[in-house]
């Protein structure tokens, strides 16, 4: 079947989609966007987290046809042109990245938290990231990265307000 969707701001049409396949498969195998990772195929690990119409979801549990006519944003679409989002910078800076396989999904989920909540509490961070499993880091540095990015994002926002 044919699926139309907007991915990272670009309108795309994909043909030959199998009816039972997931949005994750479409992104990775048909559109050449392998950022979202396939790690459990049951929504348990969050490695495939992408935005669907502005909400973070597990792309492995969205049937391809359900994404028809919808907006998708993946890790590849988080940076603003060449400029990384503060959450991407913070992940590198804080040592929140190890093997990197859980990173794309975590970044999308953390991005949503920061953009939605501003400066979340530790409890809010843990809760928001509860569905993103990481086997390497022990999560502590991920928490640090979200705190740092949120603080910087907050400072940037305040700076913007001051100028206006």
């Amino acid at each position: 079947m044919r699926v139309h969707l907007t991915v990272n701001g670009r309108d795309e049409t994909v043909d030959g989609v199998w009816e039972g396949e997931s949005l994750l498969y479409v992104l990775r195998e048909r559109m050449g966007l392998p950022g979202a990772k396939n790690a459990c195929e049951q929504g348990e690990c969050g490695s495939c987290t992408v935005y669907l119409d502005g909400l973070p979801v597990c792309a492995c549990l969205v049937a391809a046809g359900q994404a028809d006519g919808r907006r998708v944003r993946t890790v590849e679409g988080l940076a603003d042109g060449g400029r990384l989002h503060p959450i991407q910078e913070a992940f590198v800076e804080c040592g929140a990245v190890q093997c990197g396989f859980c990173t794309p999904g975590l970044l999308v989920q953390a991005h949503d938290l920061i953009e939605r909540v501003g400066e979340p509490s530790d409890a809010e961070i843990r809760e928001a990231l509860a569905g993103n499993l990481c086997r390497c880091t022990g999560y502590e540095k991920i928490l640090d990265a979200v705190r740092l990015a949120a603080a910087r994002r907050g400072a940037a926002r305040t700076g913007t307000e001051d100028r206006s």
């Binding site: 079947m1 199998w18 009816e19 039972g20 997931s22 195929e41 049951q42 929504g43 348990e44 969050g46 987290t49 909400l55 973070p56 979801v57 597990c58 492995c60 549990l61 969205v62 049937a63 046809g65 359900q66 028809d68 989920q109 843990r126 809760e127 928001a128 509860a130 569905g131 993103n132």
Partner: protein, 289 residues
Amino acid sequence: MDFLRPATWAEALAAKAADPTAVPIQGGTDVMVEINFDVRRPPALLDLTAIGELGDWELTADGLLRVGAGVPYARIITELGDRLPGLAQASRTVGSPQIRNRGTVGGNLGAASPAGDAHPPLLACDAVIEAESAARGTRMIPATGFYLGVKRNALEPDELIRAVHLRPATGPQYFSKVGTRNAMVIAVCSFALALHPGERRLGAAVGSAAPTPLRARAAEEFAAREFDWSGATALDPALLARFGELAAEAASPIDDVRGTAAYRRHAIAVLARRTLTWAWNDYRGKAAA
């Protein structure tokens, strides 16, 4: 495989009538796992996410909340947390934020897993499931009659779940579950409680401790009979303990990878006492005020 994407409810019913083997899909949190894992490959998927009205909820003329089958857990928490606190608490424990953005009560009912978190509060709150078919129209199925067995429910092959009807809380409601992990956990067992002080009774239901979620009838009857529903007095510890025992007796748990049957019985009694203590304290606080 066919992918059916009706734009309206009427089209959806017609599609289901035309092909009763078509599997409805909403948030995908059960159906897609089965497809991804090759557990089954249905001849058709019937995607209901394009039907806007399924994602709405409303207060009906008879004072009930009619929650569309497509309302995700995340919205139950934010939009209905005050009126359906038990269901909202259960929704908060479902999977992860990503899952709660997609998963729906309708889907939980359709899957009818004994471990589904939404079931105990639906039972405790006397929810009624609105099912519909093109041939026979609407059928109202009380939650108590909905769960027939492990992953089996009372739907006919040509029926779809349209909505769930619940009375806004008339008293304190609580949901509690035991899990090995702090989040993202399938319940070892769960318990929901809803006080209906106007009727001098409560609803109590157990999850993950029998082939189906079920009401703790004996515990409910005991509470209606023995508790001081004027709300004037604290619960006698003996009543609390007996309530827990009766709740545990309602279960017929098994040993599995998440816990032994004996542990589950024990834990249900704990959860029953715990939720009742919270609820009764709230109730007394209100009654006193």
